[in-house]
Structure formats: structure tokens, C-alpha cells
């Protein structure tokens, strides 16, 4: 019963904030209180295994909460809190929070839904209201990217609907139940259709075209929730489709899983390459988010206990460090009013906390040990090697190297390098962003050193579907291939750091050199000398990749649209012409029908 109350609470807070629109402070307090109430209800009352069905006389909605509901629910609610804290600093009107809370309702509702129609209803609510959020985005071409997002997400939604009806037609039950017993290949079609919206939402390669524009054009605070929270629904969908709906997929269609794995690998690599070619911070982060989600698809594609645990853990990690990165960029945008990498630089002196946040964010994105990014990457590699797919391992490794490239470009262009004159008096990001950064740094390290906390919970989720093989306790992971003890790695790094610090302090002194005291071939440089190397950071890589870089899915889609436009032209042709032509149609139709009927007269 509480599941329905949670959704109700969120909807009510949304409506309240709409009416309280003008009074900013009151509205923020109400939004925060509503959120806290809803999440408190969620955390205390939602246990796996609750069943609840509600009859609204037109149709009865079934809710059910499982382990995955709790897992994803906590992630989404946490990321929403970060979004809320950050959004208080942006000037936005009441409707903004209404749409935000309704998107949250949709997202949480989807986790509860047991029957497919209510799943579709809540999924569509989430897409619709996130579309409206992007529509209220921050720059002039946000309506265009919102429109692209709407078309893609509704395309996914309609595919899901078609899949639902096929399922209901074949299995006569509208619940999210197993379809592997149906004969013939229709079950594969149903799976593909049900999987499409989640591939769109988790931006798998052919369906990712909306993501870079939607992420970079929506309001900064909302992008945190958009990429950190909403993409988790896509992953939840993978779990639903590949485990709950089609349980024996590994035995019936193994090739389908390898296709997903390779698709994930290609997404990770290509998105990584596009990422380090971007000159806008948010576009870069958008592609990096797509690339990280590619790893999760690889994890699901391998379909062993190790790889799925890795996929879930990576999704958790992605939520943490992706929202951290977007939050920091939002904080920087709040102060510097630009996300163009060329115009920023040297902000480390002015925004140290944001720098630390971004630094540990990129360390986690590239999967370096003490942080949350490492366990899932390590486990994913082990799983892919155990599966024996060495080429895919190297592709994933290639993708993780691109992670180093774009993360360094991000941290360098924003924080390192030379401080521009106009950023002289920039202050640290305001409180909302700072608390968000600190809140996110905690899990980044805790789960990095002791992944067991989350792995235990993930194990419960998939214990029912896959035989548990991964040996783990709070702080270590063992697989047939290898064994890693994460705190040891952390301790060794810290002790080495202390040792080299000691060596550092023993010897000679250093003096603080001014920014212009720089070796520029002994040429004297004044303060407004443009020395920040940020634009075309990896320009030479364009020559290294050469022509293939030109191909893009965008061109493919545009060609496809032109085809439809052409057909549209023909159809419109029918309605041109004057009354005589229409009469001719009528007479023609009449004689045709008469002839047809004649046979039966």
C-alpha cells in the first residue's frame, strides 16, 4: 500500500511547488520536505516482496517490490537529492519542480510496476516530464534537443507497447512474466521490442543520438539527475528484459547476448573517442556517460554471475561519479557562466573543492584503484576473459583508455592551465553544489575500498536467476582467475604517498612562482597573453583516425528521415487538385466497390 502513497507524496509535492512558484524560499523548503517524506517512506517501508494491486475500475494496476527495486530506488533517490540541492541555486519557476517531481514519480513508479501496462504508463510519464524539463533548458537550442529526446523516448515507449500487446496476445497475461516457453521466434521479437526503450534510455550505440544534445542543453542541475538517475532505469530495464521476461535467453538465443555485449563494447569505444574530441564540457561528459553505460551493456551481454554483478556495480559507480562530474561542471557554470572548455582554465586557485571533486570523479571514471570505478572494471575484465572473448576484452580495454584521455582533458581545461583575467574574482561553488560534492565523495571512497556492501545486495538480486559463483566478502573479491584485496591497494598507495612526501620535505626549498614566470623560450609574457592550451586538445588524433571519424549515426538518421519525407510528399500529392479530381476519386471508388461486390451480388 505504501508504494502508492510514495508516488502520491511526490505528485502532491510537485503540485504544491507549482502553486508556491513565486515564493522561492517556501517552495524550496516544500520541495525538500516532500522529497524527504517520500524517500523516508521508501527506505523504511519498502522491503523486497511487497505485492499491492489497485483497481481504478478501468484497469487494475499491480505493484511489486523486489531487491532490484530497493537497489535502484536508493540510487535514484540519492541522485535526486543531489539534483534538488543544486537546483536551489538556479533561478527556475514552479513548473520546473512540478515536472521534476513527476519525472521522479515516473522513475520510482517504474521500479514498482508489476504489470506491463502500468509499467508503460509510468515509463511514459517519466519520458514526458523529463522532455518538458529539457524543453525548459538553458540555451536557445534546448527545444530542438528536447524534441529529439521526445521522439526517441516515445519510439522506445511505442516499441515496448507493441511488445506488451504481443506478449498479452501470446501468453494471455499482462504481468511481467516469463515468455521463454512460447514456441517460435516471436519471443525473440517480444524481447527485442521490450528491450528497445531501455537501450534508448541507457543510450546504447544506435539509439544514443538524443543523449549528447539532451544532456548538454538541459539545465545543469537537472543533467545530474538526468544522466545519473534516469539512465539507471535503462539498466533496470535490461535486468527486467534479460532476466524476468526472458529467463532462458542464454540457452535459447546465446548469439543475441553476444550481440548486446559487442554493441556495448562498440558504444563504450566510439562514445569514448567522440568524448575526447568535444570542446564543450557538458557534451564531453554526455559522451563519457554513454561510454560508461556501454560497459554495463557488456556486463549484461556476457550473462555470467561475475559479469552481471560487475554491470550492476558499474551502474552504481556510474551514478556516483557521473553525477559528481556533472555537479562540478554545474558549479563551475554557476560561477563562470560558460561550459566551453576553451574559455575556462586555472580555476584550481579559485575553486579548490570543485577541483578535488572533479579530480576524484575522473579518477573513478577511469577506474583507478582506490575509488568506486575500479572493482566493477576489474570484475568485468575477469568475467570477459573467463568467457574467453579476448577481442572484446581488448575493445573494452581500449575504451577504458579513452576514459583517461577525456577525463584529463576535462580536468585540465577547467582547473589547470592559466587563469583568465576575467575569472580573477571567481569564488568557490555555492553551498548547494559543495554539499553535493562532499556527499558524493563519501560513497566514492567507501565503496571503492569495501565494495562488499553493495555486492552483497546485488548478489541477492540475481541470486534467483544465476548460480552465485563470485567469492566475495566485505573487502575482497575472488574469481577463479584472480583475487584482489581492495583495502590493501588503498593502504599501499597511501603509505607510498606518505613516504614520498617525507622525501619531498627532506630536501631543498621551493618558492611560489607567479603565473607569468614561465618558460616561454625566455620571451616575456604579459598577463592577458593567451597561453591556455585547451581548444583542439587532441586535434592531432583527428589525423590519426582519419576519415572514419566522419561517419556518424546522425547522417544515417537524416538519410532515413529524408526517405519518409519523400513518401510524405507522394501522400500529400493525393490531396492536391480541385473538386473535379475528387469527384473522379469518388466515382472510381464507387465503381471499384461495385465491381468487387459484383462478384458476390
Amino acid at each position: 500500500m505504501t508504494m502508492f502513497y510514495i508516488l502520491l507524496v511526490f505528485i502532491l509535492t510537485g503540485l504544491l511547488t507549482l502553486f508556491l512558484g513565486p515564493i522561492k524560499v517556501l517552495r524550496n523548503i516544500v520541495a525538500l520536505l516532500g522529497y524527504l517524506a517520500g524517500s523516508a517512506l521508501f527506505i523504511y517501508n519498502i522491503k523486497p516482496g511487497l505485492i499491492y494491486s489497485l483497481n481504478i475500475r478501468v484497469y487494475n494496476i499491480h505493484f511489486e517490490s523486489g531487491f532490484s527495486t530497493v537497489f535502484f530506488g536508493i540510487i535514484i533517490l540519492a541522485v535526486f537529492l543531489i539534483f534538488l540541492l543544486a537546483s536551489f541555486h538556479e533561478e527556475n519557476d514552479g513548473a520546473y519542480y512540478l515536472f521534476a517531481f513527476l519525472t521522479l514519480t515516473g522513475a520510482i513508479g517504474v521500479l514498482f510496476a508489476k504489470d506491463l501496462i502500468s509499467f508503460f504508463f509510468l515509463f511514459e510519464t517519466m519520458s514526458l516530464f523529463s522532455f518538458l524539463m529539457v524543453l525548459k533548458g538553458k540555451n536557445k537550442n534546448s527545444p530542438k534537443s528536447a524534441f529529439k529526446y521526445l521522439v526517441w523516448s516515445v519510439f522506445g515507449g511505442y516499441a515496448f507497447l507493441f511488445g506488451t500487446f504481443l506478449k498479452v496476445y501470446t501468453t494471455h497475461s499482462v504481468m511481467i512474466g516469463d515468455i521463454s516457453f512460447i514456441g517460435g521466434h516471436i519471443k525473440l521479437l517480444i524481447l527485442l521490442l521490450i528491450l528497445t526503450p531501455f537501450m534508448v534510455k541507457a543510450a546504447l550505440m544506435p539509439f544514443h543520438l538524443w543523449a549528447p544534445d539532451a544532456y548538454s542543453d538541459s539545465k545543469d542541475a537537472f543533467t545530474v539527475f538526468f544522466s545519473g538517475g534516469l539512465s539507471k532505469i535503462g539498466i533496470f530495464g535490461y535486468f527486467i528484459a534479460l532476466f524476468k521476461i526472458f529467463t532462458e535467453i542464454a540457452s535459447k538465443y546465446p548469439w543475441f547476448l553476444t550481440v548486446i555485449a559487442w554493441l556495448g563494447g562498440i558504444t563504450a569505444t566510439l562514445a569514448g573517442i567522440y568524448a575526447f574530441m568535444q570542446d564543450d564540457a557538458k557534451k564531453l561528459l554526455a559522451y563519457s556517460s554513454i561510454s560508461q553505460l556501454g560497459y554495463v551493456a557488456v556486463g549484461f551481454g556476457i550473462y555470467t554471475h561475475y559479469s552481471v554483478v560487475a554491470a550492476f556495480f558499474h551502474a552504481l559507480g556510474h551514478a556516483v561519479y557521473e553525477s559528481l562530474l556533472f555537479l562540478v561542471v554545474a558549479g563551475v557554470y554557476y560561477r563562470v557562466k560558460t561550459t566551453d572548455l576553451r574559455k575556462m582554465g586555472g580555476l584550481i586557485k579559485k575553486m579548490p573543492l570543485s577541483f578535488i571533486g572533479l579530480l576524484f570523479g575522473i579518477i573513478a571514471t577511469s577506474g583507478i584503484p582506490p575509488t568506486i570505478g575500479f572493482p566493477s572494471k576489474w570484475l568485468l575484465y575477469e568475467a570477459v576473459i573467463m568467457k574467453g572473448d579476448l577481442l572484446l576484452t581488448s575493445l573494452v580495454f581500449f575504451a577504458s583508455i579513452t576514459a583517461f584521455l577525456y577525463s584529463y582533458k576535462l580536468v585540465h581545461s577547467i582547473f589547470l592551465g592559466k587563469l583568465h583575467k576575467e575569472h580573477r574574482d571567481v569564488k568557490e561553488a555555492p553551498l548547494g553544489y559543495a554539499t553535493g560534492i562532499i556527499l558524493l565523495l563519501i560513497p566514492l571512497f567507501v565503496l571503492g575500498v569495501a565494495p562488499g556492501i553493495a555486492v552483497k545486495h546485488i548478489d541477492y538480486i540475481i541470486r534467483f536467476y544465476l548460480k552465485p559463483e563470485l567469492g566475495y566478502n566485505l573487502t575482497t573479491m575472488t574469481t577463479p582467475l584472480g583475487h584482489v584485496n581492495f583495502p590493501v591497494v588503498g593502504i599501499v598507495m597511501v603509505s607510498m604517498f606518505v613516504l614520498s612526501l617525507i622525501i619531498y620535505f627532506i630536501f631543498g626549498s621551493t618558492y611560489k612562482a607567479d603565473q607569468t614566470d614561465n618558460y616561454t623560450a625566455t620571451e616575456a609574457i604579459s598577463d592577458d597573453f593567451e597561453l591556455h592550451y585547451a581548444g583542439e586538445f587532441y586535434g592531432f588524433m583527428r589525423k590519426a583516425f582519419g576519415r572514419p571519424l566522419k561517419w556518424s549515426f546522425e547522417k544515417l538518421l537524416n538519410a532515413f528521415l529524408k526517405l519518409f519525407a519523400f513518401i510524405g510528399e507522394i501522400a500529400r500529392g493525393f490531396y492536391m487538385g480541385d473538386a473535379r479530381v475528387y469527384l473522379f476519386y469518388l466515382v472510381l471508388f464507387f465503381s471499384l466497390l461495385a465491381y468487387l461486390m459484383g462478384g458476390k451480388l
Binding site: R57, Y158, F574, Y575, L586, F589, L601
Partner: protein, 486 residues
């Protein structure tokens, strides 16, 4: 307990009073339509409880049904009458806000409402033809009221095709009259089994084309885009909400009550889908927003007809309710779209997509309402369109055409594409600021309220539509209550 016959009589009386009042003073005629429609509404509502049972019979001039002209309103007819009156009333209030209109316009408007409600309430076949004629002629007039090139051309096309359509309809009636000897619907329905097949087929064919024009079936709807585009915004609302709904009622009454499932409906099945696809494709690349809305309304009607023809495959009450739901959604959704488009363009008639740029920013309410109208047509959650679309898909599945659901969904993806394009255009860039009058805005808000209210809590509409479907479905109770009653 005033007898519904007065609805017809009173509106007729008022229609002809208007020219007289016109001579007295310019202002008065504007007040007549709202009053008369209000009266009709009250009459209908007062008979609400009486119709709960089977059909409610009203005889005129006391003679037995098969001979006299009588009104037969069952729950199905009552629902449509209510729809027509409410939309008519809203539009009449809208016209109050309009100033320079000569009295002939109000007369035509009232006649139009009269024709529509007449069709919906009549029990006699020939009487339905008369009301159909009144409806069509008055709508020709209404379309042409704008007197510019586009509206005249649209009206002319509409008149040409409409005239031929109604004449074929009359032929159908004559054939039936010859074979059964009576004009009363219930009576013909009763005698239907003993009509030889070929004649039944021929009559059915004639009716199919006759009503096909009215209901915008594929080859016959060529007139529709020009008529919609030519007409003034409120008139196109009237066209899409009232006139096509009356056509649907007529088709249902003839093909189900009289022909009891006419097997040629299979043709309508394919035609419905073709209408839907062709119209949506045509709308895809349309630059003129008004014409685009016209195509989309034809497309929705095509879908409605497709579901309508499903009954020939599997007669199921749920499919009937879906037809009614789709009709309601189309009426209110399309009405809201046309009205809000009018508000966005602020009376100037250039509907070109670029001229609408940013108008949503400057006229937030109209922009919002246009988006709501678009969302309910697209079937977004929290809008009434969602339930009608879901029930449409369920009924298609029930009839066994599962793969067609895919096709319908794919085509409605085009819908989202071109609606989305317009919404994006409205909300991007800086547009001219036009203010919409308070009355105009309040009417649109009432349309929107219907969509949102029944989107969130669809139960009342569902139950009401279900009872109406039951009334339509039990053909025999209709016949016995009219024939036996007397």
C-alpha cells in the same frame, strides 16, 4: 420531463427568429444561439434518468411508429446529443466574444447544431436524411463565411462531394424503403432478415459511400483538408467535433442496428487503415500548421473507422466503448488544438510554421493548451488520449490483428514527429505577443479540463461509454422497445 422533440422544434424556431431580430439591432442575434442551446441542454438533462432503461420513444402526432416520424433516443444517441450540445454551447459563447458577424452566420450555426442533434435523435431513416441535408448545407455555409479564396474553394469542394454523398445516401434509403416498405429504423431492422442478400449488399454499399463522405473515409475525404484549412478556427472545431461525430453515430446506427453487422465492413477495415497511414504521411511534411491539423484529424478518423470496422470481425462490447472513447477524445482534443491554434495566430490567418515561431513564449496559455491538445491526441499518460489509445490497441488485439498494432504505433510515431516539430517551434525563439480574450481562453480551458480530468480519473467516462455501447449492442431491445412499446 420535457419531451426532447422540443429540442428540435425550439432550435428551428430560434433559427428563423434570428433574421427578424437582425432587423431590429445588430447586437441581439448574438445572444440567440447560446440561449437556445442552453435550453436544449436543460431539456436533455431533464430526461437523463428516463433513458436509463432501453430506448425512449417519442411519437409525433400520435400515430404508430412505422408510419409516423418519431424520435428514438437510447443511451448511445443521448451521449452523442450531449456531446454536440455542449460543444455547440461552448462555441456559441465563443461567438459572443466575436463582434462583427451578420445574423445569417448565427442562423447557419444554429441550423448546424439542429441538424447534428436531429440526426442523433431521430428514429426514422428519411428524417435522418433530412437532418443530414440540413447539417451539410449549413456546414457548407459556415465554411464559406470567411469569404476569402481558401474558404470558398474548400466550401465548394465540400459541397460538391457532400451533395453526391447525400444523394447516394438517399438512394440507399429508397432501396431499403422499396424492399421493406417502411422508413422507421426499428421496423427496417426487424424486417432485415427477409431482404435478399444482393439488395442488402447494394443498399449497404450506397450507405457506405453516403456516410463515407461525412465520416472522411479514404478516397472520399479529399475535401476535408481544404475545408478544414479554409474554415475559420472555430468552424473547423465544429467540423471536427460535431459534424464528423454525427457521421459516426449515423454509421453506427445504420450498420449495426439496421444491417446488424454488414459484412462489407471488411472493406472499411482496410480503408480505415489506409486513411490513417496516408493522412499521417501527408501531415509529415506539411508546413502549414492548420492543414497539418486537418490531415491529423482525418488520420484519427481513419483509426476510428478501423476500430469501427473491427466489429465485423468480432462483435465485442469493449470495441464499441473504444469507438465512443476515441470519438470523445478526438472531439475534445482536436477542438482544443484548432482553438488554441487560433489563439496562437491571434486571428491573423497565416498558419505557416515559421510565423508561429516563439508564439508559445509570448502567449504562454495558448502554447500550453496547444501542447496539451497535442499530447492527448498522441496518447500521453495523464491525458484522456492515453486511455482511448490503450483501449483502441486492446480492441485491435481482441480482434486478432496483433501485428497491425505495430503498424499503428509506427504511424503514430510520425504524428509525434510533426506535432513535436510544431511544439518546438512554438517554444523556441521570441514571438509576437497577442493576447487572447478572457472568454476565448476560458472555453479552451474547459476543453483542456475535460482532457486532464478524465485523463487522471477516466472511470466516469468509461462507465458512461460502456452503458452507451451496451445500448448500441442490444439491437433487439432497441427494436422491441420502439415497436413493442407502442
Amino acid at each position: 420531463m420535457v419531451s426532447p422533440i422540443l429540442v428540435i422544434a425550439l432550435s428551428l424556431f430560434f433559427a428563423f427568429v434570428i433574421p427578424l431580430l437582425g432587423m431590429l439591432s445588430k447586437k441581439l442575434p448574438r445572444w440567440v444561439p447560446p440561449i437556445s442551446i442552453l435550453v436544449n441542454l436543460l431539456i436533455l438533462l431533464s430526461n437523463m434518468d428516463k433513458i436509463s432503461g432501453g430506448a425512449m420513444l417519442i411519437t409525433t402526432a400520435g400515430i404508430k411508429p412505422p408510419i409516423a416520424i418519431n424520435l428514438a433516443i437510447d443511451r448511445f444517441g443521448f451521449l452523442f446529443a450531449l456531446l454536440i450540445q455542449t460543444v455547440g454551447f461552448l462555441l456559441s459563447i465563443y461567438y459572443l466574444a466575436q463582434d462583427t458577424k451578420d445574423e445569417r452566420f448565427y442562423m447557419l450555426f444554429l441550423l448546424n447544431i439542429l441538424g447534428a442533434s436531429g440526426i442523433v435523435m431521430t428514429g426514422d431513416l428519411f428524417n435522418s436524411f433530412v437532418f443530414l441535408e440540413i447539417l451539410e448545407i449549413s456546414s457548407f455555409g459556415l465554411v464559406a463565411v470567411q469569404k476569402d479564396k481558401k474558404s470558398l474553394e474548400g466550401a465548394f469542394k465540400y459541397m460538391m462531394i457532400g451533395a453526391i454523398g447525400s444523394s447516394l445516401y438517399l438512394l440507399g434509403i429508397i432501396v431499403l424503403y422499396l424492399s421493406t416498405g417502411s422508413l422507421n429504423m426499428a421496423d427496417i431492422a426487424r424486417l432485415m432478415p427477409n431482404i435478399p442478400d444482393s439488395i442488402k449488399l447494394f443498399a449497404g454499399l450506397l450507405f457506405l459511400i453516403g456516410i463515407g463522405v461525412e465520416v472522411e473515409l479514404f478516397p472520399l475525404n479529399a475535401w476535408a483538408p481544404d475545408a478544414y484549412e479554409g474554415a475559420q478556427d472555430s468552424i473547423s472545431t465544429q467540423l471536427s467535433s460535431i459534424i464528423s461525430k454525427a457521421g459516426i453515430y449515423l454509421a453506427a446506427r445504420i450498420f449495426f442496428t439496421i444491417f446488424n453487422g454488414f459484412y462489407a465492413l471488411e472493406v472499411v477495415l482496410y480503408l480505415g487503415i489506409i486513411t490513417f497511414i496516408i493522412a499521417e504521411l501527408a501531415a509529415l511534411m506539411q508546413k502549414n500548421v492548420k492543414r497539418m491539423l486537418a490531415y491529423s484529424s482525418i488520420g484519427q478518423m481513419g483509426l476510428l473507422l478501423f476500430v469501427f470496422a473491427l466489429i465485423s470481425k468480432r462483435a465485442d462490447i469493449f470495441i464499441f466503448t473504444t469507438i465512443i472513447l476515441l470519438a470523445l477524445n478526438h472531439a475534445f482534443g482536436k477542438g482544443l488544438l484548432f482553438l488554441s491554434l487560433g489563439a496562437l495566430t491571434g486571428g491573423t490567418r497565416e498558419y505557416y510554421i515559421d510565423s508561429l515561431k516563439g508564439s508559445g513564449k509570448s502567449n504562454v496559455l495558448a502554447g500550453l493548451l496547444f501542447t496539451m491538445g497535442a499530447f492527448t491526441i498522441l496518447g500521453m499518460p495523464f491525458f484522456f488520449g492515453f486511455w482511448s489509445k490503450i483501449s483502441a490497441l486492446i480492441s485491435i488485439m481482441k480482434a486478432g490483428y496483433v501485428y497491425l498494432i505495430g503498424l499503428v504505433l509506427l504511424v503514430s510515431l510520425f504524428e509525434i514527429y510533426y506535432y513535436g516539430r510544431v511544439i518546438v517551434n512554438i517554444f523556441s525563439g521570441e514571438g509576437k505577443a497577442q493576447k487572447t480574450g478572457f472568454i476565448y481562453a476560458s472555453i479552451m480551458v474547459i476543453f483542456a479540463l475535460f482532457i486532464i480530468a478524465f485523463g487522471v480519473w477516466p472511470h466516469p467516462v468509461f462507465s458512461f461509454a460502456h452503458k452507451a455501447a451496451v445500448a448500441l449492442f442490444e439491437r433487439t431491445t432497441y427494436i422491441t422497445s420502439i415497436m413493442g412499446g407502442m
